[in-house]
Symmetry: C2
Subunit: 318 residues, 2 copies
Amino acid sequence: MPTREDTELLTVRIAELYYDENKTQDEIGALLGVTRWKVGRLLTQARERGIVRIEIVHPRARRLGVERELKERFHLVDAVVVPMGDDTKARVATAAADYLTALRPVPRTLGISWGRTLDDVADRLPNGWARGTTVVQINGGVSLNQRPGTAATTAARIAHKAGGEAVLLPSPAILERLETRLAIEADRTVAGVLELAASASVYLYSAGVADGSSVLIDSGYLTPDDVTELVRKGAVGDVLGRYIDANGNPADPGLDERTVGLELDRLRRADAAILVVSGEAKIPVTRAVVTNGLCNVLVTDENTARTLLEERALMEEL
Amino acid sequence: MPTREDTELLTVRIAELYYDENKTQDEIGALLGVTRWKVGRLLTQARERGIVRIEIVHPRARRLGVERELKERFHLVDAVVVPMGDDTKARVATAAADYLTALRPVPRTLGISWGRTLDDVADRLPNGWARGTTVVQINGGVSLNQRPGTAATTAARIAHKAGGEAVLLPSPAILERLETRLAIEADRTVAGVLELAASASVYLYSAGVADGSSVLIDSGYLTPDDVTELVRKGAVGDVLGRYIDANGNPADPGLDERTVGLELDRLRRADAAILVVSGEAKIPVTRAVVTNGLCNVLVTDENTARTLLEERALMEEL
DNA sequence: AACAGAAGTGCTCATATGAGCAGAATCGGT
DNA sequence: ACCGATTCTGCTCATATGAGCACTTCTGTT
């Protein structure tokens, strides 16, 4: 009787002849003394069982299978997953730019956050990616930043490449007192921008990690101690400058009320709320965003995607 | 006009849909707005240009392409090349065992050398690999070895698994004086074995490196100094206990005349002279054997094979 | 501007291949 | 040892695919 071992060896030989030598299944059958149907079946098995591995090696390759799983498990409209590489972050940014360029209908108004990731995406958008799209900032700026103007230039660049207008949010990200926030939001300019932001159909944003590396610390809005305290309260990271816990709720409601920018709830009703994230550290925030409907399109790397899916799979086993 | 970049991206998308999503070329064409013929052509390109990489992942996988090149360049009857892995040596041994098992016609008499490699091959031969094949040792034994009997047991094991008889060569590998060698070869038993060895149709042997690691040093036939001297004379390694230079000639004719065993020339006229080698260190001997017709079947690892081919390619560029 | 050669395109047609199915072989439990 | 259930096998047939071929479109040269 043919043992498991034998069949496997036969399968390997068949795979070699088929994929390396471009022989036809018929020829292989004749050569190895099996029917061509068996050859076909063993080839299917070989692919299924991973003996034959077909890989697409390209910086712009995607992981369609993982994307499908993500969409299904997290009820997303779309997902873009790029394979890992030494330039993973760049690949994710390129993928986001590609996605935005291909997005139909082309958004009349696009709301964006700011940060390193968004900057990378702006870099990679081609000129003419849209025709006359208005780009509006959806969370408070970084006037205190060492690299002044980054937030503003990101929006300006994206708008410029679309042949459209950039609308900046002339406000700090976080204010010291609730009253100040209310006052500044009452200001006609700021109110107008926020209104425009709320009217956008598409949002593109990233997320920050709740640790010492936060841009909000760099920018002087928070101290490292503030962040430690936030983490103690359950914060996993920030979206649009707002720190959320694993359930997608503000980790510190008091702080949240002093934060200027789009309400997170608005994201749930957007045509496209596109979260762009990459890197091991951001997995917890990403999970929070994705499990709580704070985005409906996720652009990320394979590692992040798979981690999210694994955890979810484990949970379902209970 | 479509730029190179565009086409490449299109190719990647097509490859993903075809290989990851099992869509038909027709469907892909419709989906991406190109004719199905273009889809087919781009897929061919993708394979050629390495964007799509198809790999057979299995310890018993082989490298048929490299094998073909080896056969052609070195005028071999056959070549077996296994992919690298953490168990490369084991793979090569298994491949040699497979080859021997599949060899037709089944040899009535098989001549073998001894050593670690041959031992590994013996281990991996299945019971009943042949029916009644006589296994004869073709070079002097290792009576002085710390692990006594290895050489004898190798032959015995191979013979046993074939349901045949083992014939051992009861002689030291190297003698101190030419006269002694002549005397021992004149002895009826030894002469008989050598005659039988010369009558074999198939030979299976490995090769040794000319350095301190040589089994002939371990066995006490040579001192490290002897080997250093041999290297000075151009020795690259030994085959059947005989040290050869890059041209396949005895590195030290005097020594060669004191070595007991089959003449290397006999290998050139064998139906199958199967060399089994693995490992970076053995590349020089392998090259010597292979370029000088001292084997007509080579069983080795991918690294060795590719190195031999590259060198050859370089030479041809001149 | 004209043109030869190369590269690319859409097509026909022969062939390779997978889906689906009925019968054979094998398995596992009593 | 029996029989029901599953797996395996060889097949038909519809479909997917690559080779080959005119024809078009570039490209670079005079």
